[in-house]
């Protein structure tokens, strides 16, 4: 989805002279064209993320729209207070583009994983969070976001995520998309990000076991679509949230915050990673397999929980 996002930024910068793109010394084979076309507005800030967020805030204070770009931990955690005080407290028009959502950096291992980002971005007032599942959705989301102002965090995968959407659909930021609805559904699965492709693969596996899921793609983690979550969970035997993030504080917690307010809502199974650093080494698929986040792993976890109900 990275090419689609950069292309959307490129088109925006072409039309809007008051836009800047700051990178934390990353972009090899991805940003060259952008840099060539806008040499004064695309700035390599060096490996200095605190200063990058500060400079982005100063530019935005003077009326510019600013994109900042780096790997998730570097562009969210290293400079978290700058995001809170400079961007969010001042409600500035800065889009943080974070690469490598979840476990997608694979063998680069723990320092490069993004398993806490939802948890730290969600509580920030004014912050919006977009977590696309594939290229198509990333492009649709960017179109919507580029017409808005204010802080937004875009959690991007690494590269070549499996296609979830073959065709464009009606995308509204802040409104979850019902990916597939089963008429005889007894559970609902809420998923966010590229892991939706594993959830989609799990549908027939679940159906074989008599579990009929309705699958909802929650591309906007903040503001979360509470209305849809509440409506669609009603009467289900089980609700499930799926994300590549620690189970603590992330997307599942956001869904739980909604359902905990609803009388008679179903139990929520939060699927994510365990509360420990990941020492196992392997590529993205291997890690998903290892942590029960592949289609079969998800199926096993859901079947087990369903049987308890």
């Amino acid at each position: 989805m990275r090419p689609g996002i950069i292309k959307a930024v490129h088109n925006h910068m072409k039309k809007n002279k008051d836009s800047y793109f700051l990178t934390g010394d990353l972009g090899f084979s991805v940003l060259e064209e952008l840099q060539k076309e806008f040499p004064t507005r695309v700035i390599n800030m060096g490996v200095a993320e605190q200063n990058m967020i500060g400079v982005a805030s100063g530019l935005a204070l003077s009326g510019k729209k600013v994109f900042v770009y780096s790997i998730v931990p570097f562009v969210t955690m290293r400079c978290y207070e700058q995001i809170r005080n400079d961007i969010c407290y001042h409600n500035l028009d800065v889009m943080i583009i974070g690469l490598g959502g979840g476990l997608s950096y694979g063998v680069l291992s723990a320092t490069h994983f993004a398993l806490e980002d939802f948890a730290i971005m969600r509580p920030l007032p004014h912050m919006n969070i977009f977590s696309p599942s594939d290229e198509m959705e990333a492009v649709l989301g960017m179109e919507a976001l580029l017409n808005r102002q204010g802080p937004v965090y875009v959690r991007v995968g690494k590269k070549s995520e499996p296609t979830v959407y073959e065709k464009p659909f009606s995308f509204t930021f802040g409104k979850a998309n019902i990916y597939s609805e089963s008429k005889r559904d007894n559970i609902v699965i809420f998923a966010t990000g590229p892991i939706l492709s594993e959830v989609v693969k799990a549908i027939p596996l679940l159906e074989k076991q008599g579990i009929m899921p309705t699958v909802v793609d929650v591309h906007t983690v903040k503001p979360i679509d509470a209305k849809l979550i509440e409506r669609i969970s009603a009467g289900k035997t089980l609700a499930v949230s799926v994300e590549e993030h620690y189970r603590i504080g992330g997307f599942g917690s956001a869904v739980a915050e909604v359902l905990s307010q609803v009388v008679g809502s179903p139990r929520l199974l939060i699927i994510g990673t365990d509360d420990r650093f990941i020492k196992e080494l392997g590529n993205h698929d291997y890690l998903r397999e290892t942590f029960g986040l592949s289609a079969s792993g998800l199926t096993d976890q859901i079947v087990k929980a369903f049987k308890k109900e």
Partner: protein, 273 residues
């Protein structure tokens, strides 16, 4: 020392407003607020291109108080410069009031809400970069403390500013030699600060932070500089300046004035103004 009577009187008035705001409330950060009064006086009443009637003017000079804990000093200065009614100062640090202890953008003239150290300079560089690219004349003044230089973000910013030739930035270091829990020299020494900053590619000047002429001279020189280097003025100051028993005292960062001294202080300032 040359004395500019008009500016001197303004500085005295700002000090009085600070004492009126902070002392009855027993607020912290008295020393830090008093120590930068001349710097703010020179900037707001002499050096900066600002118009209280048009505070959002696209071509204005910017001022960022990176040491946001001295908010009282900035509020008093802005009020006296006409950015807002002086009556608002009574809402400092009060329940349901408007002016928090750390500088806040809630009032006209405060460009950036601050309070955590090491934020002002990077944001200032963003403003300066924007002005440069748009060929606007804005100068960006950022006031930092010497203790604040412990923060690594400033050093990222020092590197960036000289790399991008942001000569429209004029940083000022309020060098009082004290920080939150000790003497700067003993906690983390920044010396030799002049040489350090020069080696980072900045044009460095030194000034007496309580001498309005000395400050004006350094600021004007930085404003008119033809060099492509970013500018920094190391202003030697005395924390707590204006309250003799507080001057140069680390305790003046916090509140430590006895009841008798409190009354004496308020009345002595009153008489002088």
């Amino acid at each position: 020392m040359a004395i500019d009577n008009k500016l001197d009187a303004i500085a005295h008035q700002i000090r009085y407003e600070i004492i009126k705001m902070l002392v009855p409330l027993e607020s912290h950060h008295i020393g830090c607020s008093l120590g930068i009064v001349e710097i703010l006086t020179a900037l707001y009443f002499e050096v900066m291109n600002i118009d209280p009637k048009n505070p959002e003017d696209i071509n204005r000079d910017y001022f960022i108080l990176s040491k946001g804990h001295a908010g009282a000093s900035l509020y008093a200065t802005l009020a006296l410069r006409g950015f807002f009614d002086k009556k608002l100062l009574s809402q400092y640090d009060t329940n349901g009031g408007l002016l928090p202890e750390h500088a806040s953008r809630v009032v006209s003239g405060v460009e950036l809400s601050t309070g955590s150290l090491g934020h002002g300079l990077p944001v200032g560089l963003g403003l300066a970069l924007s002005a440069k690219r748009d060929k606007r004349p804005n100068k960006v003044f950022v006031l930092m403390s010497d203790g604040e230089l412990d923060e690594g973000s400033n050093w990222e910013a020092f590197l960036f500013a000289s790399q991008h030739k942001l000569n429209n930035v004029i940083a000022i270091i309020d060098k009082n030699g004290l920080q939150g829990f000790g003497k700067t020299e003993e906690v983390i020494s920044v010396e030799p600060i002049k040489e350090k900053l020069e080696s980072f590619g900045w044009a460095v000047q030194e000034a007496d932070g309580h001498d309005l002429q000395s400050l004006k001279k350094a600021m004007t020189e930085a404003q008119n500089s033809q060099s492509d280097k970013p500018n920094i003025i190391i202003a030697k100051t005395i924390k707590g300046r204006g309250i003799p028993f507080f001057e140069g005292k680390f305790e003046s960062h916090y509140y430590s004035i006895s009841e008798e001294k409190k009354a004496e202080l308020l009345s002595s300032f009153n008489k002088k103004s």
